[in-house]
């Protein structure tokens, strides 16, 4: 009987401990793998300099993060979610339905998606349309009247001025936010300039010219360094770190650099967001301080430390506006979500 007594007591104690973990002193963050390094940097800084517990950050992808974030308003759900795109209306509706009604959005900076190749190749200049013709499953025929299966094998087949090189592009898998953003900003946009396509981009080609890489951008960089003829696309910070091996390809005449991404002239750039669950502020220690530290000039500013690890700062005016909005805990409204922003709509 002794054994049973012990077993019952220990089960009760364990259950009590589990429920006692409710009021928290540690912030929990989920979301985008692109925002993950920046958020982790701020989290670490927050832990070291304020004496609070360092927030725990999981890299779940933007969509995965939204799903967990919006799953409920209780303290067992995360306090922040990172996203490499604005919250979708469907996700906002999901949040509302599950009682997550008081959200503040923070826009923290830009990230560019760069196409790159090994340094040993000659400089390459592409337009969005050329990239589209190289990668789409179906392309307009020569007379432009019908859609045919992609016949292009070499870049020079698309435009004689391009080098006589096989088309091989290593990109992100479908689960990745980088892939979503690339499809949206390059493929979908370019498809609009071919009337026969009806403005609707469908699918990337599957005959081996497009090679889905892993989520790990480092591996794509290594592959490019090995395989001189291939090209690849990934987050700009990986180009920045590996200038000795790979170089950027200009799109529509603009090279991917920190400056061109910041001033908006580089066409394949996106904003990065963090969403905060305001109802948790009273129960979770340090949330407001964390949000304010993230938005501070020393982090996301034009001389901030996040710039050194690849975040492209917002323009000064916008930084100020975003900072104010977070300070006032401006609630996210349906109107803002529909307009793809987190700042108050005039």
């Amino acid at each position: 009987m002794k054994f049973w007594k012990k077993a019952v007591v220990s089960t009760i104690v364990a259950a009590a401990v589990v429920t006692a973990a409710q009021a928290r002193d540690q912030i929990r963050i989920v979301g985008s793998s692109t925002v993950y390094p920046f958020a982790s940097y701020v989290a670490e800084e927050f832990g070291v300099t304020t004496g609070n517990k360092t927030p725990v950050i999981e890299s779940t992808g933007s969509g995965g993060g939204m799903k967990i974030f919006c799953s409920g308003n209780g303290l067992d759900t995360p306090d922040f979610t990172n996203a490499s795109r604005p919250m979708k209306p469907s996700e906002f509706a999901d949040c509302q339905k599950n009682g997550v009604k008081n959200i503040t959005g923070m826009v923290v900076g830009y990230d560019g998606i760069s196409i790159a190749q090994s340094n040993e190749n000659k400089e390459m200049k592409l337009t969005k349309e050329q990239i589209f013709l190289a990668l789409a499953e179906e392309v307009p025929s020569k007379d432009g009247k019908s859609l045919i299966k992609n016949p292009y094998k070499k870049w020079s087949d698309i435009d004689p001025s391009l080098p006589n090189r096989e088309i091989r592009m290593i990109g992100a898998p479908t689960t990745s936010g980088t892939r979503d953003a690339f499809d949206e900003m390059v493929m979908e946009k370019a498809s609009k300039s071919f009337p026969v396509y009806g403005g609707e981009y469908k699918k990337v080609r599957t005959d081996g010219a497009y090679i889905p890489g892993g989520e790990n951008d480092n591996l794509i960089v290594q592959q490019l360094a090995q395989d001189k003829s291939a090209m690849g696309y990934f987050g700009y910070s990986f180009l920045e770190e590996n200038h000795n091996k790979i170089s950027g390809v200009s799109i529509d005449g603009v090279m991917p650099t920190a400056d061109t991404i910041a001033d908006g002239s580089y066409p394949v750039a996106r904003s990065l967001f963090v969403y905060m669950k305001n109802d948790h502020i009273k129960d979770v220690k340090g949330m407001k301080e964390f949000a304010n530290l993230f938005m501070s000039e020393s982090m996301i500013g034009s001389k901030g430390v996040l710039k050194t690890i690849g975040l492209i700062p917002l323009p000064e005016k916008m930084r100020k506006k975003a900072r104010e909005s977070v300070k006032n805990l401006t609630p996210l409204t349906k109107e803002m979500v529909d307009k793809h922003t987190v700042l108050p709509v005039k």
Binding site: V18, S33, P37, T54, S59, N216, I309
Partner: protein, 391 residues
Amino acid sequence: MSKIDKNNGFYIPQLEKRRAKAKRFKYIAMSALIVSLAFLMFFLYDMFRQGIPAFKQTYVKIQVEITEENLENPYGFLDRDMISIVSRAWLRDLPNQAAANPEWLGTTQEFWALAGAESDQYMKGGENRLKDRVKDRIDELKESGDIRFQTNLIFFFTGDSKIPENAGFYSAIIGSILTMLVTMSLAVPIGIMTAIYLEEFAPDNKLTQFIEVNINNLAAIPSILFGLLGLAIFINFFGVPRSSALVGGMTLALMSLPIIIVSSKAALKSVPNTIRQAGFGLGLTRWQIVRDHVLPPAMPGMLTGSIIALAQAMGETAPLIIVGMIAFVPDAATNILSAATVMPAQIYTWSGMPEKAYIEKTAAGILVLLSVLITLNAVAIYLRKKYTKTW
């Protein structure tokens, strides 16, 4: 081979052909071994080549005047070359250091400060993005002996960091230990008890056969499914905190259970039936026979099975992604309910970082994990060798 006398009355003409066949087979089998050894050697060589430099770290001597102003803004007092040599992580921590040593205030202290990852790479002869004048400055410091390598204690005594030179394996090691404790205390007793019941007590009927087939099947399914199970049961239903060592340990326990049961059953089966019959002959109960005569000789087999199952669980990442243990956790977990990460998860996270210093740390982490696994397997072999009885 000596020349065979064909006139010998015992000479069989096919013999030579058969010998040649046997020899060929031997060489084919051997080359298979050589190929796998070559892969292993290449992997180990590559890991050592990349990982060994991570065990030393550059430190630079600096003088700091401890004033309130300098503590207010610890990034301001160094000149513009030194600021790119000294690690930001070290400067960031200076106010905390000074607060712990109030007598420093108003004096000038000399420190061996942690150097940044770029200068560290330059010292190690690797690629770096330092400006030429900073490189010259490092060369000067090297000549005067004010910059040097020290054993990288940070790697073993701090947690993860987004500042590469400050990143360590400590929180992952602690996390792995806690997770393994949970796994071990759940999986080993449950697994061994199940095996004892199935092997010694349960009747041999359709139901137990069905259970056995299922257990064997479970031992082979992909580990990520256990992660999904863990998410559904432990997190969503029982409300165990995400990313904690408890939920990770329970999930891995589920994964190790079938392996432990199967190997324990095999160990029990290998105890000859005559021993049990002798026990019955003496009028012992089944419980007494199992406790005193079957378990002791079966124990080494059960232990090795358990250790190998635990070693496998220790190297597992897939199910832990699902229960949220692949996370940025710089502080070491203090109990099984706080957020933790494990060694393979930390390796996975580092391998995805763009900075060169993390590539070094990834390899070093792999070396640490490998040596832990080798130790565990060696213990398993030792136990088997020492206690195995042969009949």
